[in-house]
Amino acid sequence: MKTHKAKRVAIIIEQVMQSRLTDAMSKAGVTGWSVLPVLGGSGSSGAWSREGQVTRGAGMVQVICVVRPDRIDALLEEAFSVVERHIGIVTIGDCEVLRAERF
C-alpha cells in the first residue's frame, strides 16, 4: 500500500499540563493528537502510580501526535516551551502513514 513519511512525537507530561500542551500544539498548526493514559512510572523525581489517587496533582499522560516532517520543528518549539520547566519526556520517531491527506 502507498504510505507516506511522517514523524511520530510522543510526549509524556504531567496531566495538569495537558491542556496547555495541546493549546500550544494548536498554535504550532498541529491539528491532530491523541492522549493516552499512563498508570505509573519512575524517573529522577521518584516513582508514582495512579492507584487509588484522588489528588489532581499527580499523574502523567502520553500525548501522541503524528505530523508531516516539515511541521516537526514548529511543534517541538512550542512543546518545549510548555515542558521546559516541567518533568516529562519528548521522543520523536520516524514512521510511515496511510492516508496522509487526512492530516
Binding site: V16, G46, E51, G52, R56, G57, R85, I87
Partner: protein, 327 residues
C-alpha cells in the same frame, strides 16, 4: 483531659480510623491491596456532593445566620494568612528551599475536605451541632492560600507564576464547584429534597467514608514508604506543629465570630488541615520546581493522620470547653 482521652479513644477505635490504619498497614507491608483510581474518585465525588447538599439543607432549615457572611470572610482571611505563618514557621523549623516552603505553606492554608468530613462525623457522634454553612466556609478556604503562596514567591523576584488559565483552574477546581454547587442545590431543595435522596447521601455515608479512608491509608502508606528520607526531622515536626498552630487561629476566629461549639471546632479543623486534592495540582502548574514528595507526604502522610487520630478529638474538646458546650 479525661474527656479528651475518652473522645480520642472512641475516635481511634471507630471503623473510620481503623479502616485508615488498615490501609496504611497494608501499604507498609507491601500488600497488593488497592482501590482503582476511578472508584476512589467516585467516592470523593459522592462525599463532596453529600456533604455540600447536607450543609445547604441545614441552612435552608435553620435560616441564614447573621454570621454567615462574616464566617465566609473570616475563612478567606484565615486561608490567606495561614500560609504566611506556615512559611515563617518552616524557615525556623525546616531547611526547605523557598520554593518548597511556599508550596508546603499553600497546602496548610488551604483545607482537607476529608478531615472536615471526619470531624463532622465525630461531632454528630457526640451530639454536637454545627452551622450548615461551614461547608461553604470550607469551600471558601480552598483557594486563597494558593494565591498567598504564589505572592510569597513573586515577592522573591520570581515572576510570571500566575496567569488567567491558572486562576480559573484554582477558583473553579472540581471540589470547589461540586461543594458549592451541591450546597446550593441542598439550600434550594431544602428538607423536601433531602427526603428524596436521604437513602443515598445520608444512610450509607459513614460506610463509604470507611472505604475512602482505607484508600487514603493505602496511598498515604505507599507515599511514606517511597518518600521515607525526604522529610527531615524539622519538617516532620512542622507537620504536627502547624495543625496545632492553625487550630489556634481557627479557635480564636470561631470564638470572635460567636459561632456554635461545633462551628468553633470546625473552624479549628479547617485551619489545622492541609489540602491534598486541589492544591497539589496548582503547585505542579505554578511551582513545578517544588518537590511534590515533600508536600504530598507531609500533608497526607503526617498531618492528615495526626488530625484524624489526635487532632480532631483535641479540637472538639477544646472548643467544647471554651464555649461551654459539652463534647
Amino acid at each position: 483531659m479525661d474527656q479528651i482521652l475518652d473522645l480520642a479513644a472512641t475516635n481511634l477505635l471507630s471503623p473510620i480510623i481503623l479502616s485508615f490504619a488498615l490501609g496504611v498497614a497494608a501499604a507498609l507491608a507491601r500488600s497488593d491491596l488497592n482501590i482503582p483510581e476511578a472508584v476512589a474518585k467516585g467516592m470523593s465525588i459522592y462525599l463532596l456532593f453529600a456533604i455540600g447538599f447536607k450543609g445547604g439543607v441545614s441552612v435552608a432549615d435553620h435560616g441564614i445566620d447573621a454570621t454567615l457572611a462574616l464566617s465566609l470572610l473570616a475563612g478567606i482571611a484565615l486561608s490567606a494568612a495561614l500560609p504566611l505563618i506556615a512559611f515563617a514557621l518552616l524557615q525556623v523549623m525546616g531547611n526547605l528551599s523557598r520554593l518548597d516552603a511556599a508550596a508546603v505553606a499553600a497546602h496548610y492554608g488551604s483545607i482537607s475536605i476529608v478531615t472536615f468530613v471526619a470531624a463532622t462525623s465525630v461531632l454528630t457522634g457526640s451530639g454536637i451541632t454545627s452551622e450548615g454553612y461551614m461547608v461553604a466556609v470550607a469551600a471558601a478556604m480552598e483557594a486563597p492560600a494558593i494565591l498567598s503562596a504564589l505572592w510569597l514567591i513573586s515577592r522573591g523576584g520570581d515572576a510570571r507564576r500566575m496567569d488567567n488559565d491558572l486562576l480559573r483552574e484554582i477558583l473553579l477546581n472540581g471540589s470547589i464547584v461540586l461543594l458549592v454547587g451541591s450546597f446550593f442545590i441542598g439550600w434550594i431543595t431544602g428538607v423536601d429534597g433531602l427526603v428524596k435522596i436521604e437513602a443515598f447521601i445520608v444512610s450509607p455515608f459513614q460506610g463509604v467514608l470507611c472505604l475512602f479512608l482505607l484508600d487514603m491509608g493505602l496511598v498515604a502508606g505507599r507515599g511514606l514508604r517511597s518518600s521515607s528520607g525526604v522529610l527531615t526531622p524539622g519538617v516532620l515536626a512542622f507537620g504536627v506543629v502547624m495543625p496545632v498552630v492553625g487550630a489556634t487561629f481557627g479557635l480564636v476566629t470561631g470564638l470572635l465570630l460567636g459561632v456554635s461549639t461545633g462551628g468553633v471546632a470546625l473552624f479549628m479543623v479547617l485551619s489545622a488541615s492541609a489540602s491534598y486534592i486541589a492544591v497539589p495540582a496548582a503547585m505542579r502548574v505554578a511551582l513545578p520546581e517544588a518537590n511534590p514528595s515533600i508536600y504530598l507526604t507531609l500533608s497526607l502522610g503526617v498531618t492528615f493522620p495526626f488530625n484524624l487520630t489526635l487532632g480532631i478529638p483535641i479540637y472538639v474538646a477544646v472548643a467544647s470547653a471554651l464555649t461551654g458546650g459539652q463534647p
